[in-house]
Every structure is written in structure tokens, then in C-alpha cells.
């Protein structure tokens, strides 16, 4: 197995920056461009803020962010043990949101910035979102 790291944070908005910087620093081991790193940071922010706002509904909880490198791929998994979702597929729809004042674009952005996204969620158990991205440069070399 390649390099990996895991960050566990309290479910607090304060910790968004921490999650973003840690994931981006880990990602920097691959040859990502500066803008790919920015995309990654947006994806992490959205996934972690979903865990804080929706998963734990701003209550106390822990969020686990696992990072792994495997064959020039970055694999990031964000897990919460919050309220979960009955139908995670639906959450991917653009502008789908269960919170009035929000825009429902978080998952849409995650989807467009990452190569592959999988959600696994169960009501009252929690949510796991797995996101994969490789540097564009590598993808070009392979093709």
C-alpha cells in the first residue's frame, strides 16, 4: 500500500481549514497543478461541511478524513456518524437540499472536481463519501 494518513476532527466549522490544508498537503505528494489542488480543497470543504451541518446538525461529533495514495490516485474518504440519508443518490442532484438557506451545490461541485465519487449512507448510522482524483498530467501520459 502507498502512503496514507488519517485526520480526525471535532465537528466544528473552525476545523474546516484544518481539514482542507491537511488534505491538500497530503495530496501534494502527487503531481497536481495548483488549480487541481484548489479543486480538491473545495471538494474537501464541501464534504466536511456537509458532515458538520447535515450529518451532525451542528451538534458534537467526530469526522474522520482518510487519505491514501495508490497508483498515482489520491483517495479521500470522509466519514461521519451523523443522521445519514435515506436516499443518497438524490443528494447528488444539482440544487437538491434539505436546508432552506442552502444552495444544494456541494455534492455537484464535488462530483465535477473529483474523478470519481461514491456515497454510502444509512439513516441514523452515518455517511461515508469516497472521492478519487488523479493529476491531469498523469492521465494524459497514460492515454
Amino acid at each position: 500500500m502507498g502512503n496514507y494518513a488519517k485526520l480526525i476532527i471535532k465537528s466544528q466549522t473552525d476545523n474546516l481549514g484544518l481539514a482542507r490544508i491537511t488534505a491538500a498537503s497530503f495530496a501534494a505528494q502527487l503531481d497536481f497543478t495548483v488549480s487541481e489542488i484548489e479543486e480538491l480543497k473545495v471538494a474537501i470543504s464541501e464534504a466536511v461541511s456537509n458532515a458538520i451541518v447535515h450529518g451532525y446538525q451542528e451538534e458534537n461529533g467526530e469526522i474522520e478524513i482518510s487519505m491514501e495514495l495508490s497508483h498515482n490516485q489520491l483517495i479521500i474518504v470522509v466519514v461521519d456518524e451523523g443522521v445519514g440519508m435515506a436516499n443518497p443518490k438524490e443528494a447528488f442532484k444539482a440544487s437538491y437540499t434539505t436546508t432552506d438557506e442552502r444552495m444544494g451545490l456541494g455534492l455537484t461541485f464535488i462530483n465535477s472536481f473529483m474523478d470519481k465519487v461514491e456515497i454510502d449512507s444509512k439513516v441514523e448510522v452515518g455517511t461515508k463519501i469516497k472521492m478519487i482524483k488523479s493529476p491531469e498530467q498523469i492521465k494524459k501520459q497514460i492515454n
Binding site: T13, L16, I21, S25, V34, F109
Partner: protein, 77 residues
């Protein structure tokens, strides 16, 4: 003056210190320079090598000079 100082302190946490700004500025300048030569997007590792600053430090610096992403209106541009 006390109030201005407090305002500056409250709005300029450690994250946007002078040294972070300098690092971010150097990184962005080098990025532009390499990209104008190669007309291709440069990766962070190259920028880090050119300016002799570790990648993680550049990430921290670039993150610090951005406006914090709001939970309700994330930056989408």
C-alpha cells in the same frame, strides 16, 4: 488607535502573517513565470522546487490569503 489595532488583530489572525503572504506571493509569481514559458499548467512540486519552499508551506500560505470559504456561499468561480 486601540480600536484600530484590535480590529486589525481580529481580522488578521496568524494565518495571514507577513511571512505567509510573502510565501504565497513568491509561489504565485513563480507559477505565472513558468506557465508563461511553457504555456502549460505547472504543478505545485515544480513551483516548490523553483522557489525552494516546501510544498506544504506553499499550500498553507495560499490557503491563508484566500477569503475563508463561507458555509453558505462557498466560492464557486
Amino acid at each position: 488607535i486601540g480600536e484600530i489595532k484590535r480590529h486589525l488583530r481580529d481580522n488578521n489572525p496568524i494565518r495571514v502573517s507577513r511571512s505567509l503572504r510573502d510565501t504565497a506571493y513568491k509561489a504565485l509569481q513563480m507559477k505565472e513565470e513558468i506557465e508563461s514559458k511553457n504555456s502549460e499548467e505547472v504543478n505545485l512540486t515544480e513551483v516548490a522546487k523553483e522557489i525552494g519552499i516546501p510544498r506544504e508551506e506553499i499550500i498553507h500560505a495560499l490557503d491563508a490569503i484566500q477569503d475563508p470559504i463561507s458555509l453558505f456561499e462557498p466560492i464557486y468561480n
